[in-house]
Every structure is written in C-alpha cells, then in structure tokens.
C-alpha cells in the first residue's frame, strides 16, 4: 500500500475561483493596454522615420524655376536627393481635399519639389532655413517646409498615447498585486489553523510562505495565460475587423500582432505569476511575523 501525499494547503475554494477571474480580467486588460502602448510607440517611431529628413519645396514660377531650384538643392551639402513632383503626383497629394474624381485639367497646380536630407542634418534642425536662404540668394521664389513643427506635434501625441497606455498597464499591475495580497491575507486567515499547526510543528516561515507562493504562482500563471489568450483573441478580432473594412486610420496606433506583441502576450502570464508569488510571500511573511 502506498498512501499518496495531499498538498498541505487544501485545494482551491470558491474564493480562489473568484480571484482567478479577477487576475484573468486584469491580465487581459493589461495585455491590451500593453499592445496599445507598443503600437503607439511603434506608430510614433514610424511617423518620425517617415517624416524626418523629408522636405517639401513649393516653387512660385515656371518650370525653369523648378528645374533651377532642384539643381540648387541637389548640390547642397547634407541633401540626399531632390526631385520635382510631376502633375500626377501632385494630384495624388490633393486627393484627400479634392476627392478621387480628379483635378480639372485647367486647374493650375503648385510646383512641388520633394527633397530628402540626411537624418543627422534633419535632426540638427535648420535644414529648411538653409534651403530657403540658398533659393533666396539665387532669386528663386519658394516656400520650404521641413515638417519639423507638425511632426513633433504628432510624435508628442503618439508618445502621450503610449505613456497613457503604459500608466494603465502599471495601474492594472498594481491593482492585481493588491487584489492578490488581499486574497492571500483572506486565505491565510481562513487557513490559520493550518498555519498555526505548521508553525508549532517547527516549520520555518519560508516553508509556510512557500506553500502560499506555489499556490499563487500557479494561479497567477494560469489566470495570466488565459487573460493573454483572450487579449490575443481580442487583438486578432480588431485586426480582422479593421482589415475587412479596409479602413486605415492615419495617426492612430495600429495593432499588428508582431513579434514584440507576441513577447508582451507571452511574458504576461510569467509576470502575473511572479507578481502573485511576491504579493503572497510579502503578505504571509508579514502575517507570520505577528506570531510568536
């Protein structure tokens, strides 16, 4: 006959089922917030990379003035490329304002030059002013826009969105830890008979604490995994809906379910479990220190 050993703490009760649900829900929300934070930062980076170094020059004059301006800008230091936009490209730029029906053939369009500066020059600032001065000296009437002002605004906005999402993740994490600490305390009180018996049997605090730590580590990992799975499902659903409707909302963060997102979803159960374990340990050790 080989009697098997049951765990020293009784198996889960209704209290732990409720805690499982709460941790799962918190993890779900934290994962979604994490995904939004990552996509916000990613959108900010993408916008910065897309806009940094891009310079648009509107030339007031005929085609000869445009050709002259292109030549002048091309020869400037720190300029990677410069080229005049043809009518089709200009019409494409006007589409958001004039609609897809096209621009009337007799409507005069501004002469535009698209130039690109090296990232170092673009980041150091003043590139637009230098081009403006060069064109002025050559008596070419032009307006130069290096997009610095509005790109900074966009980056600030997307960074703020990411920061808010990160704060939400932090807040949800703190709520989760508090809930687990509260639940551990409740479990500890409910199982005081066991704790006292173990204590009087000569169990060290770490031994007693480890029983609760193991229990809550497993609970945190399992609830976190379910929460992450649900968050994955929700993100996939949002992606599916966005792709079906073929609506790309510019400037807003886009969920992507990339490798980084996978990392967020994959690490969440682990972080949830470790947070639960630490919360349980701190609570148990504090309670035990009140005993003789």
């Amino acid at each position: 006959m080989k009697p098997s050993l049951a765990p020293l703490l009784p198996k889960e009760d209704a209290r732990e089922a409720a805690l499982f649900f709460v941790v799962c829900a918190l993890c779900f929300l934290a994962c979604l917030s994490g995904l939004v934070a990552r996509s916000a930062y990613s959108a900010a980076d993408e916008w910065t990379n897309r806009v940094t170094g891009q310079i648009t020059i509107r030339v007031k004059g005929d085609d000869a003035a445009v050709t002259r301006a292109v030549q002048l800008v091309k020869t400037m230091p720190d300029i990677v490329s410069a080229r005049a936009l043809d009518r089709a490209e200009s019409e494409e730029l006007l589409k958001p304002w004039l609609g897809a029906t096209g621009v009337p053939a007799d409507l005069p369009l501004p002469h535009l030059i698209a130039a690109e500066a090296t990232p170092a020059a673009a980041n150091s600032g003043g590139m637009g002013q230098r081009i403006s001065l060069t064109l002025q000296e050559a008596r070419v009437d032009a307006i130069v826009d290096d997009h610095i002002v509005w790109s900074k605004d966009i980056k600030r906005a997307t960074d703020s969105g990411g920061l808010i999402a990160l704060v939400a993740v932090g807040l949800l994490g703190a709520i989760g830890v508090s809930v687990i600490a509260f639940a551990t305390h409740a479990t500890l009180l409910a199982r005081r008979d066991i704790v006292e018996l173990l204590h009087l049997s000569g169990a060290k605090d770490n031994f007693i604490s480890s029983l609760f730590e193991q229990r809550f580590l497993m609970l945190g990992v399992q609830a976190g995994a379910l929460g992450a799975l649900l968050a994955f499902g929700a993100a996939a659903f949002i992606l599916f809906v966005v792709k079906q409707s073929d609506q790309q909302i510019w400037l807003l963060p886009q969920l992507s379910l990339s490798l980084a997102d996978g990392l967020i979803l994959g690490l969440s159960p682990l972080i949830s479990g470790i947070a639960a374990m630490i919360a349980a340990k701190v609570t148990v050790m504090r309670s035990l220190s009140d005993m003789v």
């Binding site: 006959m1 080989k2 009697p3 050993l5 049951a6 020293l8 009784p10 198996k11 008979d193 066991i194 018996l197 173990l198 204590h199 009087l200 049997s201 000569g202 169990a203 060290k204 605090d205 031994f207 220190s289 003789v292």
Partner: protein
C-alpha cells in the same frame, strides 16, 4: 512522565503554551532544554519547537489530510522525503491501533481514533518532550485509560519526557507518578498517589 493538574482557569493551558513555545513570557523567564526562550529570536524558536511534540485537546488534525498524512506532517515540515519515513509512519499508526485507517480522513474517525492520530503525530519526530493538553478530555473513560497506557509506553519505549495536563484526578491516581499542581499562580510538586498503576503488559491500543 509528569501530570500537571489544577482547577479550571488556574493557567494550565497557558503554562503548556509557554512550554511548547506558542507563547512567550511577558515577564519572568522560561527555559526549555536549558535555553532561555525569551532571549531567542523567532528564527531560533523553530528548531526548539521540533524537539517538542504536542497533543492538543481539540486534536488539531487537518481535515483535508488522511490519518497517514496528518501523522507525517512534522516530517514533511522538516523537508524529509516520503520514502524515508513511510514505513515508520505506517508502523506508528499500527502501534496506536490504526493500521487499517491510514487513508481515513479525520471526519470519519471517532474521538479516540483522532486522539491516537494526534498522539502519533506528536511522537513521529522522536521529540525530547511530549506535551499533552487534556488528552482524555474528549474521550470516554475507557478510551482515556487506553490513551494513558499509550503515553506510559511512549515514556518507557522512547525514553521521552511526557507532560500531561489534566483535571482527570482518577487518571492521576491510577498513574502513581509525579504530579505538579498549579494553583494561585504557583506550581507545587505533590506526592504521587498511592493507588497502583494499571496492570502492565496490555497493549496501548488493542
């Protein structure tokens, strides 16, 4: 083996709690195994507690564990692997007459059976001192006598000091052993009663 007697409210349980280190003195000195317990840190008390086996009046068995698991509890606390103690625990349960109740949960055991499981749990770690608080308080007279014989055998077999708090004077009279009487905050040693002990040779739990 020593009995601790005294009227209700005299402080027997408090004295025992001080002895098995569930309480620490707010004044005065309690010395266990030659060590002043008031000078020890919490951490240092755990090894000392392992030298003491306690039989609680209300048994304090864990309901979700079997009789076998309840007895094995102090050894699990020590981190011993089950392989190393399985046979000893089974043998101990056989010795207290519960060899066929290894898997029984406390809820299915009678008062006397629970108390025997509690005694086996107190003994399994081979402690230097066994403390029993009113061990016959929740069992009938016959079972009380059987438990007493069990304690006596423990005392002889393991050469372990046994301290039993009881208000069962009939049991004390039969024991013919040292008696400490606690009254008015004083512990007084009183002579052993003259009545002879129960006949030897009887098994503790047959």
């Amino acid at each position: 083996m020593t009995f601790l007697t005294g009227p209700s409210g005299a402080g027997k349980s408090t004295l025992l709690k001080l002895a098995y280190l569930a309480l620490r003195p707010t004044a005065g000195r309690v010395s266990m195994f030659g060590v002043d317990t008031s000078r020890l840190t919490r951490k240092d008390l755990a090894p000392l507690r392992r030298r003491i086996g306690v039989v609680f009046q209300e048994f304090r068995l864990l309901d979700h564990l079997s009789a076998y698991e309840n007895v094995a509890l102090p050894l699990r606390v020590l981190g011993q692997h089950e392989r190393s103690y399985r046979d000893d625990v089974i043998e101990l349960l056989r010795w207290v007459g519960l060899g066929d109740r290894l898997e029984a949960r406390p809820a299915t055991l009678s008062g006397g059976e629970k108390q025997r499981v509690a005694i086996a749990r107190a003994v399994v770690g081979k402690p230097d001192l066994i403390i029993a608080d009113e061990p016959t308080g929740n069992v009938d007279e016959e079972m009380g006598e059987r438990l007493f014989r069990l304690f006596r055998e423990l005392n002889k077999r393991l050469n372990t000091t046994v301290l039993i708090a009881t208000h069962d004077l009939a049991l004390v009279r039969k024991a013919r052993t040292d008696v400490l009487r606690l009254a008015d905050g004083m512990v007084v040693r009183v002579p052993a009663p003259a009545e002879p002990p129960p006949a030897s040779g009887q098994g503790p739990a047959q």
